[in-house]
Symmetry: C2
DNA sequence: ACCTGAACACCGTTCAAGT
DNA sequence: ACCTGAACACCGTTCAAGT
C-alpha cells in the first residue's frame, strides 16, 4: 500500500466521482476507500474546497497548450477549446468538478485562461471584452465536455438507458399545445446528439460568434 | 401568520438564498424561518430537489414570452435572451438555482426552451443542431445573469469589497512570466465589467454565433 | 511530519403518530 | 389534509493527543 499522498487522494477522488457521481465524493468515503481516518485528509488539504481545487487542477494539468505564434488567433482559439474539451472527456466527472470550483483558484486552468485572454486581445477586443469572451469561451468548453456523454454517473448502463427512456416519455407526454417543439424533438433533446456534433458544431458555435464580433470591431 | 403554502415556502427559500447564498437554503433552516417543523415541508415537497425545482419554476414564471410572428427569428432570439437575463436579475440567487436543477423538470423553463427551439428550427437548423443551440443559448443566458453582480451572496457589501480586493491581489501577485495576461488584466477580471457590457456585448456574443452559422446553413 | 479518537454542529429523510 | 416527535444515517470540521 502506497503512502497517502496528495496525488493519490486526488486520483481516488476523481475515480469515485467518475464512477458514482461527484456527490459520492465525500471526505469520509474517500478516507475509507484509502484505508485511513477522515482527519488524515486534513493534513493534505485544508478543507474540502481545496480538495476539489486539487481535483480540477489535476484534470486540466493533462492539457498541454501548444502556442504557435505563426498561426492566426482564431485557429489557436479553436484548438484551445477542442483541446480542453478533449482532456476533460478523460474523466466523466471532469466538467462537474470544474463547475463546482472557482476557476480563478485552479493554477492549470489559469494557464488556459491566460492563453485565451492573450488571443482575445490579439483579436482586437478591449480589456473588458476580452475578459468576458474568455470567460464565455471556457465556460462553453466545459459545458461541451459535460454534454454528450449525458453520464448520469453512478448508474449502470442499463439503469442509465431506463432513466433516459423515462425522461423522453416525460417530455413526449407533455401538453403538445403549450410545448409543441419540445414534444416534437423529445428524442434528440434527451439523447443529446453524437459526440461529433459537440466537437464540431458545438465548437463552431462558440468560436464563430467571437470571429464575427472581431471582424466588426476591426471595421469600427 | 399565513398558512404554510407551497408559494410561501418557495419565496422564503428564494429570500434566504438571495440574502445568504444558496448553500444557506436548508430544509431545517427554512422550517425554522417559517415557524414550523422541518417535516412539515415534506408535506408540500417530496424532497429538497423538488423544492429547488419549485424555486426555479417560480423564478422563470415571471418571464412572459412575447411571440411576434412578424419579426425575424434573430430579433426574437435576442429578445428571449435579454428577457430571461432580466428576469433572473430579480433574485441574486436565480442563476445559482438554475445551475442546480435539471432544466427539463422546470415547467416555466420548458416554455422558454420551447420558444428557443422553435426559433432555431425557423433559422434553418436541423433537429439536433437546434437542440444544441437552444441548450447553449439558455445556458449562456443563465451565465450572463450570474455574471456581473459578482454577488458572493451572504456577505455584507464591505466584506464583498474586501473579498474582491484580496482576489485581485492574488491574481496580481502571480508569476508574471507564466500568467502574463492574467496579471495584466487582474482588475477587469475581478470586477467583471459593468452590467451593461453583459447585456449588450454578452448577448451579442451569444446570438451572433448563431446568426453567422444560420447564414452558412442557408448557403449550403 | 503525519495520523488517530472523540466530539461538535450540522445535514436530508423516514416513519409512526397526532389533530 | 396537514403537521409533529423521535430517530437514522449521514455530512464537514476542530482539537487534543499520539508516534
Amino acid at each position: 500500500m502506497g503512502k497517502l499522498t496528495r496525488e493519490a487522494v486526488v486520483e481516488q477522488a476523481l475515480g469515485i466521482g467518475s464512477a458514482e457521481g461527484l456527490q459520492a465524493v465525500t471526505i469520509r468515503r474517500l478516507a475509507q476507500e484509502l484505508g485511513v481516518t477522515p482527519m488524515a485528509l486534513y493534513w493534505h488539504f485544508k478543507n474540502k474546497e481545496q480538495l476539489l481545487i486539487g481535483m480540477a487542477d489535476h484534470l486540466v494539468e493533462g492539457f498541454v497548450i501548444t502556442e504557435d505564434y505563426d498561426r492566426p488567433w482564431w485557429e489557436q482559439l479553436r484548438e484551445l477549446v477542442t483541446g480542453l474539451v478533449k482532456v476533460l472527456r478523460h474523466y466523466p466527472c471532469a466538467a462537474a468538478v470544474l463547475e463546482e470550483v472557482d476557476h480563478m483558484t485552479v493554477p492549470s486552468f489559469l494557464r488556459v485562461w491566460d492563453t485565451a485572454l492573450g488571443l482575445a486581445k490579439q483579436a482586437g477586443f478591449s480589456y473588458e471584452e476580452s475578459c468576458l469572451i474568455s470567460k464565455y469561451l471556457l465556460q462553453g468548453a466545459i459545458a461541451l465536455a459535460a454534454g454528450p456523454l449525458n453520464r448520469r454517473s453512478g448508474l449502470s448502463d442499463q439503469d442509465a438507458a431506463e432513466h433516459l427512456r423515462v425522461k423522453r416519455l416525460g417530455l413526449q407526454s407533455l401538453p403538445q399545445d403549450v410545448y409543441p417543439h419540445i414534444v416534437e424533438m423529445a428524442t434528440p433533446l434527451c439523447e443529446g446528439g453524437t459526440a461529433e456534433l459537440y466537437d464540431t458544431f458545438g465548437v463552431d458555435l462558440l468560436v464563430t460568434g467571437i470571429e464575427t464580433l472581431a471582424a466588426r470591431v476591426h471595421r469600427d
